[in-house]
Symmetry: D2
Subunit: 142 residues, 4 copies
């Protein structure tokens, strides 16, 4: 087995351990398409029970899916990491039936801190929202 394969396996192992207990990500219907060190891409479909009072996707659902991708990406190195602070910019509203892709990418990694950007796009590649997150890396293992 090559070095890179081992790394991906480790990130994948951490993901499986997290997903096994992640009840809310299950409710969101998140499907992880790719995982690696500092990276995660997943998708989910917008359902009726995810809508807000204006009949569009609730911003909290868009955020939550991004927050899960962020968590999977920042824990992928094996060190237990938690969200410290995040920001979200909304460009377009999601609609029922949309299949949204959520891609988390590590922008910087230090001993105690990691910074990630997450893009949420729809099935036509339209950017719905931009999420930025800072994680705190504890000394514990996941």
């Amino acid at each position: 087995m090559k070095e890179q394969d081992k790394t991906i396996s480790k990130a994948d192992e951490v993901l499986q351990r997290m997903l096994a207990k992640d009840a809310f990500s299950k409710w969101l219907g998140l499907e992880v398409d790719e995982i690696g060190e500092g990276f995660c891409r997943l998708h989910f479909q917008v359902r009726e029970d995810m809508l807000n009072g204006f009949g569009t996707l609730h911003g909290g659902v868009t955020y939550a899916a991004a927050d899960s991708a962020f968590a999977f990406a920042c824990n992928s190195h094996g060190r237990l990491s938690v969200a410290l602070s995040t920001s979200m910019d909304y460009l377009e509203a999601g609609k029922i039936g949309d299949v949204l892709t959520v891609e988390a990418k590590e922008e910087g990694l230090k001993n105690k801190i990691g910074v990630y950007q997450i893009r949420i796009t729809n099935q036509e590649g339209l950017l719905l929202a931009l999420f930025k997150g800072t994680s705190y890396r504890t000394s514990k293992e996941v």
Copy 2:
């Protein structure tokens, strides 16, 4: 009927119209305790299906409850308003059974833009998270 009562009634009327269709806020179990122009306080209880892979409240759920309070507060003036950009700071993790209070307060209001701060505290008054949101006020009525 006094002037203030009419104002509160209007904010309340907008809230009822929004809540009637807000499927995700229903799923969150949000109960609005107080509504007024530029203000909203609500609470909800942390359930098992709201937890993340570490067994604590998923940050996306905390955010979503704050986002709903933000939406109720910024639409309370009757002008259809949408979230443009938000930020969230996490201080403590929520736990199963916790009853969380979410309070949204208007910090500034201009013709096109509103700024709100939302505090999320638990049943002991401990601050779990701080949310800040900027809304864009369209020219449509809710």
Copy 3:
């Protein structure tokens, strides 16, 4: 000397040590009006060399004054602290001659992390901007 006085003296001692070398805060003309543990209030006057291409106060100057107040407040406990992530919302533009008050308040303090809100108002009490900052507390002394 009472217990509280000693605390204020310590925060003040840290402030003096920081101010002594803070060249950019000096350029900004920041005058600290009050300092305490987790708190700082300062003011400065908008000069011509602080303006942007539209003839109003450059948003980076408003931010920088808030960032200094944040630094003074989060280091006031004596532990060397650095900014991790911040957010800023702009409501009104500052104008030449304005005297701006910048008040930093601690919202939460944990072993490794602190969260602060900073309000920037003008001489008429009008809110110009809202800043939120998260600091990382190292184990070193200031």
Copy 4:
């Protein structure tokens, strides 16, 4: 003259009009290397009067340079645009003598709103900070 050249000329014309009066960007010593619709790259050198109380680059200066690049990029279409809300993540401290590159890129553009990401790197390509900004596009021309 080709179509693209005309576009670049327009963005460049707006930039020149903004720079002519931008006193604070002048103080920062900003040199614009490239400008286009929705894009700006500039650099500046860290001077002694830009340092904070710990002898490193004041976070407000890093932010201000990013804020200028953001302003040049979001006004490049010719519509007068102002910053609504921004966020900043700090990864590494700038040092005296460093030559910092600031690159602003448009992530989304709508009728009233634009979203931009700005990366600040040093002469070795190390990422110092990440800035995200949302602008409000007025109906006036620059």
